[in-house]
Amino acid sequence: MTTTSASRQISLADYLADRRGRVQRLYRRPRLLDRAVHTFLFLSGALSILTTIGFTIVLGSEAIKFFATTEWLNINRQLAGAVEADTTTFQLNTGGSAVAEGDLLRLTIEETGEQVRVTRVLDTTTIEVERGVNGTLAKPHPNGVPVFRGAEVTLREFFTSTRWAPQVGNFGVLPLVTATFMTSLIGMSVALPIGLGAAIYLSEYASPRARAVIKPIIEVLAGVPTVVYGYFALTFVTPLLRSIFGTDVVQVYNMASAGLVVGILIIPTIASVSEDALTAVPRSLRDASYGMGATRLETVTRVLLPAALSGISAAIILGVSRAVGETMIVLIAAGAGPNFSFNPFDNAETMAGHIARISTGDIARGTIDYNSVFAVGLTLFVATFLLNVASNIITRRFREVYA
C-alpha cells in the first residue's frame, strides 16, 4: 500500500477500463440469476397466499355441504322383503336403530337412492311410508336393501346442543368448544405469567451474559416436537397431578395435564414476542423514568408495560391461537371422546384433537364422520382467524409511536 494510490483521482474511464486498460463497451447484461430469484420469491409469496385461499375454499365448501345437505346415518336396518314401486308398507329387519314417524329414509347406499317419509310406525319392524319424496323416483327394491336415516344439521343445533355424536345424529359442537376453551385457558394461565416474566427479566434485569444463556434455552422449548410434549403430559404431568389430587379425582386422560403442557409449549412464543416489544421501547423513556427517581419495578410496571402493550397483546393472542389449535398434546393426554365438562380433571376432547382422532381411523369420504370433521375444522379456523384479527386491531389501536 502506498500513499499515492490513496490520493489518486478516480475517473469514470477507470471503471470502464479493465485491468489491462482496455475500454469496455457499456451494455445491459442479462441478469438471468436475478430474474430467477425474483420469480422464485414471487412464487413463494403467491404460493402461500394461494394455499390459504384454496384451503379456505375447500374447508368452507365441505363445511357448507355439511349444513346445507341432508346427512345420511347408517342405522343398520334393511328391507326384510322386496317392495314394489307402489308398496307403502315396509317390513324392516330387526335390530339397528329405531325409526320414528316423520323420519326421512333413503333406500340403497347410493346418494341418489329413493327417499321415503315415514308416515306411521306400526311396530318395530313394520312402517308405513310415503314413496319417492324429495323428487326421487319410486321404484321396486329387492330384499335386504340397506335403509339410511336422513338428518338435517341446523346452525342452531350446531352451536347450542351439548352433545356431539355425528354418527347417531347429534351435532352439538359445544363440548368440543368448551374443551378447547378449557385447555387454552389452563395453558394461558401457565404461559402468560411465565412468558411475560421471562420477557421482562430478559429485557430489563438480566445481565448480557445471563441473557446469552437463558434466551436460547427458552427458544429450545419451541423446538421440541409436540408429540414429545404429549407424552410428557401423559407420562409425567398426569401421574404427578394424580399423586397430588388423588387418582379418584384426576382421570388418566384429563384437560388439566394437557392444558399445563400446552402452556409450557407456548411460553417461548409469549416470551420472545413480548421481549421484542419491551426492547423496542425507546431508551429515552427508561432514562426519563429512572431520572424521575422511579425504581426498576416502577419503571417496568408504569412505563415499559404500558408502552409495550400492543406488542404484548399480540403475543398473548398469538399464544392463544397456538393453544386453541394445538393438536398432538390434547390428542395424547386430554381424552378421546367429546365430553361437556368444566372439570379440568375430567377427560374431554378439543376441536383439533377430535379432528385428528377421527381422521386417523379408516374414515371414508362422504360419511357423516368425514363431513362433520370439516364443520369442526371450519369452526376452529374461524376461531383462530378472529383471534388474529383481534390481535391486529389491538396492535394498531394501542400502538405507541415513538418518532
Partner: protein, 450 residues
C-alpha cells in the same frame, strides 16, 4: 354350562336303570347294543366290522359317544366314514384304550389308544375331559372291560393332502362376513405370495348376503360366515344342488375388562353391560348397590373397528345410538390408549378383542359375563356369551370341480392359526384348537371324497 350339566343329568338318568341291571357277564358290545342311546355307535361298529374285536377277550376301555354326540358331527363326515371303512375303523379304535381303566385310575396326561395315537385326558374338579369331550357317565363295567360315556366324538389326526399353490390356477371367489374378511384376505395374500397364479376375490357383504350369493345365486366358491349356517340357508343351498360344508377357522371373542385395581366387579350380566355402555347406569352403585357410587369411566374401540361392530351387534342389537350417546365415553382406534385408560382407574371399564386382552392381561382383568370367564376354551365351546365361531363354507361339488378352491381351503386350514393372535402382524382372533383342526381335516377329506 347349564346345558352341559343338564345334559349330564339326563344322560345319567338314562343310564341309571341299566347300570344297575348291567351284569358283569355282558360284553362291551352287548351292553352298548342294549341301550338305545348308543345305537349310532353300535351301527358304526357293525359297519366297521369291529363287533368281534370288541367282543373279544380284552380287556378294553371304551369311550362311548352318545347318539347326540354323533348327531353333532356334520352328516357329510358321517357319510364319509361309512363310505371308508378304514377311516371309520381308525376313528372308532381311537375311542378304545387297551386295558381296563376305571375312572378312579385316570389322571391328566396322554394315553395311547388302540388306533395308535394318544388321547388327552384332563382330570379336574369339573370332571374328566377326553380331548374335546366330557365324560358324562363313568365306570360301566362289562365282562371284557369298561365303558365311559362321552358327549362328543373324538377324532384322531389325519393328514391333509399336500398343497402346492403353483400347481393350481384360475379364479376363486369368496364373499360374506366382514369379520372373517381380514382372515380370508390374509390367506389369499399368502396363497398368492406362495405362487398361486389365479385371482382371489374376497367381498365383504355380510354373512347373510354371503350365503345368499353362495346358495341362491351360486356365484361364490367360498362363503365367509360369522355364525353357523341356518337351516333355511342349507335348504336353499340344497335346492341348488350344493351341500354346504363349514370349516371352523377362528373364534372372535370380546373381553370386557376392568383395572387390576378394581376389586369389586367379578361378573356382569349382558344386561348390565348394556346399561353400563349406554350410560343408563352412570355410577357403579347404579349397576349393583353393593358397588361404590363412583362414576363409571367408559372406553371403547372406535367405530371403524370390527370389535366395536361386534359389541354393538351383541349388546345393542346393532343400534349404535346408546353407546354413541353414553356420556364421557372415550373411543380410540389405538388399543394402547384404551388399555392405559382402563388400567389407570379402578372405576374404568372397556372391552377388547380377546387376543388383545390376552396380550395385556397383566394390566387388566377380564370380567366374567353371565358367570362365564372368557378363555380360549369357553370361546371354543361357545359357552362364553361374547364369542362367536368364524367359518368358511364351501361345497363338495365346488371343491371337486375346482381344484384351486380345494387347494386354497387346504392352505387356509393349514396356515390360518399362525395368522391369529395379538401381535401387530396378526389378526386379533383366537386360533381354533387342534381338535377343531382334526374335524376340519375330516370334513375336508370328506368333501373331496378321499
Amino acid at each position: 354350562m347349564r346345558n352341559r350339566i343338564l345334559f349330564a343329568l339326563v344322560a345319567l338318568l338314562l343310564l341309571v336303570p341299566f347300570m344297575s341291571a348291567a351284569a358283569q357277564d355282558q360284553s362291551i358290545v352287548e351292553i352298548a347294543a342294549g341301550n338305545a342311546d348308543f345305537s349310532t355307535l353300535v351301527s358304526l361298529v357293525q359297519a366297521a366290522g369291529l363287533v368281534d374285536t370288541l367282543s373279544g377277550e380284552g380287556p378294553f376301555t371304551v369311550f362311548a359317544p352318545t347318539n347326540d354326540a354323533f348327531a353333532a358331527v356334520p352328516q357329510i363326515a358321517v357319510d364319509f366314514l361309512l363310505a371308508n371303512p378304514d377311516v371309520l375303523t381308525q376313528v372308532l379304535t381311537y375311542h378304545v384304550v387297551p386295558g381296563k381303566v376305571m375312572s378312579a385310575d385316570l389322571s391328566s396326561g396322554e394315553v395311547a389308544t388302540a388306533q395308535g395315537q394318544t388321547i388327552d385326558v384332563a382330570v379336574s374338579d369339573a370332571g374328566v375331559k377326553i380331548n374335546n369331550a366330557n365324560v358324562v357317565a363313568a365306570d360301566i363295567e362289562a365282562s371284557n372291560g369298561v365303558i365311559h360315556v362321552i358327549d362328543a366324538v373324538i377324532l384322531p389326526a389325519f393328514e391333509l393332502p399336500e398343497v402346492d399353490p403353483l400347481a393350481v390356477s384360475d379364479n376363486i371367489i369368496a364373499a360374506g362376513s366382514s369379520t372373517v374378511f381380514p382372515l380370508t384376505e390374509r390367506m389369499a395374500d399368502l396363497f398368492n405370495q406362495d405362487g398361486f397364479g389365479g385371482t382371489i376375490t374376497v367381498d365383504m357383504i355380510g354373512t347373510g348376503a354371503g350365503f345368499e350369493r353362495f346358495c341362491v345365486n351360486a356365484e361364490t366358491d367360498i362363503s365367509n360366515a360369522s355364525r353357523p349356517i341356518r337351516q333355511t340357508e342349507i335348504d336353499s343351498c340344497r335346492a341348488n344342488g350344493l351341500e354346504p360344508v363349514g370349516f371352523f377357522v377362528a373364534i372372535d371373542a370380546l373381553a370386557v375388562a376392568v383395572s387390576r385395581e378394581n376389586t369389586f366387579v367379578d361378573n356382569l350380566t349382558l344386561e348390565q353391560v348394556a346399561d353400563i355402555f349406554s350410560g343408563k347406569a352412570t355410577t357403579w352403585a347404579e349397576v349393583n348397590p353393593a358397588w361404590p357410587a363412583e362414576t363409571i369411566r367408559l372406553f371403547s374401540p372406535g367405530s371403524d373397528s370390527g370389535t366395536y361392530d361386534y359389541f354393538v351387534e351383541e349388546i345393542f342389537d346393532r343400534d349404535e345410538t346408546p353407546i354413541q350417546n353414553a356420556p364421557g365415553i372415550q373411543f380410540s382406534e389405538d388399543d394402547n390408549v384404551l388399555v392405559a385408560g382402563v388400567e389407570g382407574s379402578p372405576y374404568a371399564i372397556g372391552y377388547f378383542g380377546y387376543a388383545y386382552y390376552q396380550a395385556d392381561q397383566e394390566r387388566m382383568r377380564a370380567v366374567a359375563i353371565e358367570g362365564i370367564v372368557p378363555s380360549e376354551e369357553t370361546g371354543t365351546t361357545g359357552e362364553y356369551p361374547l364369542s362367536r365361531p368364524l367359518f368358511i363354507y364351501s361345497a363338495p361339488s365346488i371343491m371337486q370341480a375346482k381344484p384351486q378352491v380345494a387347494a386354497f381351503i387346504n392352505y387356509y386350514l393349514r396356515n390360518a392359526n399362525e395368522q391369529l393372535g395379538s401381535r401387530p402382524d396378526q389378526i386379533g382372533y383366537i386360533p381354533t384348537n387342534k381338535y377343531v383342526g382334526r374335524l376340519n381335516t375330516v370334513l375336508y377329506l370328506a368333501a373331496l371324497g378321499k
